[in-house]
């Protein structure tokens, strides 16, 4: 509805950011495994950690629906810590057992945790050794999902960054879309990009390791998720060019994202309009329905998935909401700068967290909608605030034109529900 708003000079790109350092109420990077293992169908994620790590994975998304998932935790025990058992031997034994039971596994990720990092268990050494043992059937890589190094979605960044060095070299001109997206969204976006005339469009991560994309100097990277800083840097390190754009949330975001790719590949305005016109109209229409509920309402974001700034941009520009505070665990201007430029300059951005202070601010500002993690949602509801769980935004298809309406509806539903209930 407000898609025609003029772009304000630099928006809140250079606005002061409230930096906080206190208790964070955010998952660690291990959580990324929950969606990565669904996306990468021949991969297994072996966390080397503690019972806490295993418990986090099983609790974070109520994921027990998968009878035997492609992730597990090698739980460190007293003997491993006391040096009585060689942790590397133990790991080799567990990996051997696992691979014998799961011959479908083609790539194995050893995932570091806080305990494995504190005891300085060198998983890169283990990954090299195991690669030699299991090549060419299984590729073994490692990354850290630890809570002392990574927050929530940074786990995906660490995972994808670990894959970059082993991607094949290519000299071909291609567009590489980076970020794990639900298959249906990936297919839609790839089709749009192909329709624009970009002949080779590849994705990282691919669904199977045999379909891994190559990378090289003729590769142009288009980032689909706003938390992939290390991955983008690693790809740039291999010679790829990186496009800057707002992220593809909502009609406007998706259009600007596609337009940036079109610009890099010299697609004409006529072609661009011909390809995007129909889906843009659909997206606008779908967003409009939900925006009726959202327009004029205020929203407060607790830091969680790193999607906060792009989503605040979508809600304020396309749904007519007022963003009171937009918190992110960290702000990487190289990624979210273009989204910041589109946010109204008075938006309060915050980085890091001191959850008790932030709760005080939230209560004081009485937002119509609070976007927060699962630990905070019910307590805030009980205080009379409407909430939207941030984690759902990471698990549901929300990118692109065809999902723009769904995305707006996710935010509208808690408000509509409250209006519907006579309690």
């Amino acid at each position: 509805m407000n898609h025609a708003l003029p772009v304000q000079a630099h928006g809140c790109r250079n606005a002061p950011v409230l930096k906080e350092r206190g208790q964070r109420e955010v998952f660690c990077g291990l959580t990324g495994i929950i969606w990565l293992h669904r996306k990468m169908q021949d991969a297994f994620f072996l966390v080397v950690g503690s019972r806490t790590c295993a418990h986090l994975l099983q609790s974070a998304a109520g994921v027990m629906i998968f009878a035997e998932p492609r992730f597990g935790t090698a739980i460190l025990e007293e003997t491993d810590l006391a040096g009585m058992a060689d942790a590397h031997d133990e790991l080799d034994r567990e990996v051997a057992r696992l691979l014998a039971r799961r011959p479908d596994i083609r790539q194995l990720f050893l995932v570091g945790s806080c305990p494995s990092e504190v005891i300085k268990l060198d998983l890169s050494r283990a990954a090299e050794r195991l690669t030699q043992t299991y090549a060419p059937n299984v590729r073994v890589l490692n990354f850290s999902g630890s809570g002392i190094e990574t927050t929530f979605t940074q786990g995906e960044d660490a995972c994808l960054a670990s894959m970059v060095p082993v991607l094949p070299e290519t000299q071909d001109e291609q567009l590489l879309v980076v970020g794990a997206l639900p298959d249906i969204v990936e297919d839609q976006l790839t089709k749009l990009l192909s329709d624009l005339g970009i002949s080779v469009v590849r994705s990282l991560p691919s669904r199977r390791s045999s379909e891994d994309p190559g990378v090289g100097p003729e590769t142009t990277v288009l980032v689909a998720q706003p938390f992939l800083g290390d991955t983008v840097a690693a790809l740039a390190g291999r010679g790829a060019k990186v496009i800057q754009a707002p992220f593809p949330f909502g009609e406007e975001g998706t259009t600007l994202w596609l337009r940036a790719a079109a610009g890099a590949f010299g697609v004409s305005e006529t072609t661009f309009n011909a390809v995007t016109e129909a889906p843009r109209a659909r997206a606008r229409k779908a967003v409009k329905a939900a925006a009726q509920t959202l327009s004029g309402k205020s929203v407060f974001f607790f830091p969680d998935s790193q999607l906060e700034i792009p989503l605040a941009r979508f809600l304020s520009r396309e749904c007519g909401m007022q963003a009171l505070e937009v918190g992110q665990p960290y702000i990487h201007k190289g990624l979210v700068g273009p989204d910041m430029e589109l946010l109204p300059p008075e938006t309060q951005l915050s980085e890091g967290q001191d959850v008790d202070l932030q709760l005080d601010r939230c209560r004081a500002s009485r937002p119509d909608l609070t976007v927060c993690g699962l630990g905070l949602a019910n307590p805030l509801e009980a205080e009379g605030l409407r909430t939207k769980w941030a984690i759902e935004l990471v698990f549901s298809p929300v990118h692109g034109y065809e999902q723009a309406g769904d995305l707006a509806a996710l935010f509208a539903r808690p408000i509509r529900r409250r209006e519907a209930l006579a309690l």
Binding site: R24, F27, C28, A60, A74, R93, E94, I148, N378
Partner: protein, 509 residues
């Protein structure tokens, strides 16, 4: 190092959180990295609590390591005290903080806060959630209990309930009612429902009612030793156990065990003719030690089931469960490895599982009905209605819960008689289950022709296979397996219709 897919218990600091969250006026400062804050959602989402757990995490990061994690801890303690003003503070470390050895207990004690500070030593790499809860409650008692006069009237404490406990909320309500009917006053219910100040007067009770040995026995033993308070040994789950419990309580209280059973319906429901079909149903029981033991007694004595497997995941209860299993002519399964449990169930082919949420998933996969009897919990285990496991109403609830997943008596016959009827085809399942009916699983159907589950080459002749498919889905897996075992024993390499029915006669009970 041990590879784990699903865990029955969380780490011990989650047990400490269960104690703190059940209480009021207590705050827990936990030295832990940010990811460990996931534990809040166990209480706010699974248990639907409308408050955040009273826990402050230090959420130290890599850059803090080696420099100022100890300062960070102290600062966090100070801030948490200022903000929440608790009556007492518990402090401790999660698995990661245990490795950096900042000694939260020592640090906090040196700060001179004006309230009791209780340090928890919970070895994360050896022990688990139940131990954490038990140890925390025990330490709270040790530090807070004061010498007080006994109440003039006969009274007791109720020990063991915690936040996130399987039906603890409703069990307490039911047990309070039973005790009230005996004329016994309740002094303190703890840890859930009490504050540190309440714990100071635990000693006013004449004896203790221990509901959950997993979380309360260490404290109950200490109170017995220190204050001379005896405690109850029977957990009142089931008709017989509730009767025994009331007798035990009456003895301890010196009152007569006259009880009113008018609310109890299980005995009649289990005697009535529709329940005949429950006779000899083969059940596999797995859960925490207390609930598994109670379920075994109920299953055999009060439902008329045959217990074909029994086990628990908490090793602390290995000994009593092993002894109990022997009484049932079984070898107990003591393991916290979900795959081992699955393997045992697959081997035993029970007609029903009485287990945890884990076993519910195993059951789904194998097409075996399952009723949940024990933690670990799921949002479904916190129903809106009152739904105890203990006492008379608990027995009624359990009867319903266990019968629900099974196909009802008369319906079972109809399914046999009208196999070909469209309403009774496989996918229809039990009529009261709607779309969530137990489906014949891929596994059950997939025993590839020509190879039995045991891996031996056995050929199902086409007629026999067709006949097998006429057997209702909920017993077909067992029929297939029994027939194959029978054929193997007889040294047959082919299964005909005759083999099928000979096997049926052989296994007939």
């Amino acid at each position: 190092m041990k590879l784990t897919v699903w865990t029955y218990e969380g780490p011990p600091h989650v047990g400490a959180m269960r104690v703190a969250t059940g209480m009021t006026g207590l705050h827990y400062v936990l030295h832990a990295p940010q990811g460990d804050t996931y534990a809040d959602l166990l209480f706010t989402m699974i248990e639907r609590r409308n408050h955040r757990p009273p826990v402050t995490y230090t959420t130290f990061q890599a850059r803090d390591l080696g420099s100022d994690t100890a300062d960070l801890f102290k600062q966090t303690c100070r801030d948490a005290y200022e903000r929440f003003r608790p009556q007492a503070l518990i402090v401790g470390a999660s698995c990661t903080a245990e490795l950096i050895q900042d000694d939260p207990g020592g640090l906090a004690e040196a700060m001179g806060l004006p309230v009791p500070v209780i340090a928890l030593e919970l070895p994360s790499y050896q022990r688990k959630e139940n131990f954490g809860a038990s140890e925390t409650f025990f330490q709270l008692c040790r530090h807070l209990v004061r010498p007080v006069e006994r109440t003039p009237e006969v009274s007791c404490n109720i020990l063991g309930p915690t936040g996130l406990g399987f039906r603890h909320r409703d069990d307490v309500e039911e047990v309070e009612r039973l005790l009230g009917e005996l004329g016994i006053a309740i002094n303190v219910v703890a840890p859930m429902g009490s504050s540190p100040i309440d714990l100071q007067r635990l000693g006013a009770a004449h004896f203790n009612v221990l509901l959950y040995p997993e979380t309360g026995e260490a404290a109950a033993r200490w109170l017995e030793r220190e204050l001379g308070q005896p405690f109850t040994k029977t957990v009142p789950i089931g008709v017989g156990a509730t009767r025994d419990f009331l007798t035990e309580v009456a003895d301890l209280a010196g009152v007569s065990a006259q009880t009113d059973e008018s609310r109890l319906r299980l005995p009649w429901y289990s005697t009535s003719v529709d329940s005949t079909y429950l006779t000899g149903k083969r059940v596999f029981i797995f859960g925490d030690g207390t609930h598994a033991a109670a379920a075994a007694r109920m299953a055999r004595d009060e439902m008329g089931f045959e217990v074909v497997g029994l086990g628990c995941y908490n090793r602390e209860f290995a000994r009593p469960i092993r002894a109990l299993a022997k009484d049932y002519g079984l070898e107990a399964l003591i393991t916290d490895d979900y795959l081992e449990v699955e393997e045992a169930i697959e081997r035993l082919q029970p007609e029903m599982i009485l287990g945890t949420q884990m076993e519910r998933h195993i059951g789904k996969r194998l097409g075996i009905p399952c009723a949940v009897i024990s933690a670990p919990v799921h949002v479904q285990d916190f129903p809106a209605r009152t739904s105890p496991q203990m006492g008379w109403e608990g027995a009624n609830v359990i009867f319903d819960t266990w019968v629900h997943p099974l196909v009802m008596g008369l319906e079972e016959h109809l399914l046999h008689m009208f196999r070909e009827d469209f309403e009774f085809h496989d996918e229809a399942g039990a009529s009261h289950h709607g779309h969530r009916a137990a489906q014949p699983t891929a596994h059950e159907e997939a025993a590839p022709d020509g190879v039995s589950d045991a891996g031996a080459p056995i050929l199902w002749l086409i007629d026999a296979e067709r006949e097998l498919r006429k057997i209702p889905f909920f017993v077909r897996g067992k029929a297939r397996r029994n027939t194959e075992t029978f054929a193997l024993e007889k040294g047959l390499s082919q299964i005909s219709i005759d083999t099928l029915y000979e096997a049926k006669a052989h296994y007939a009970r």
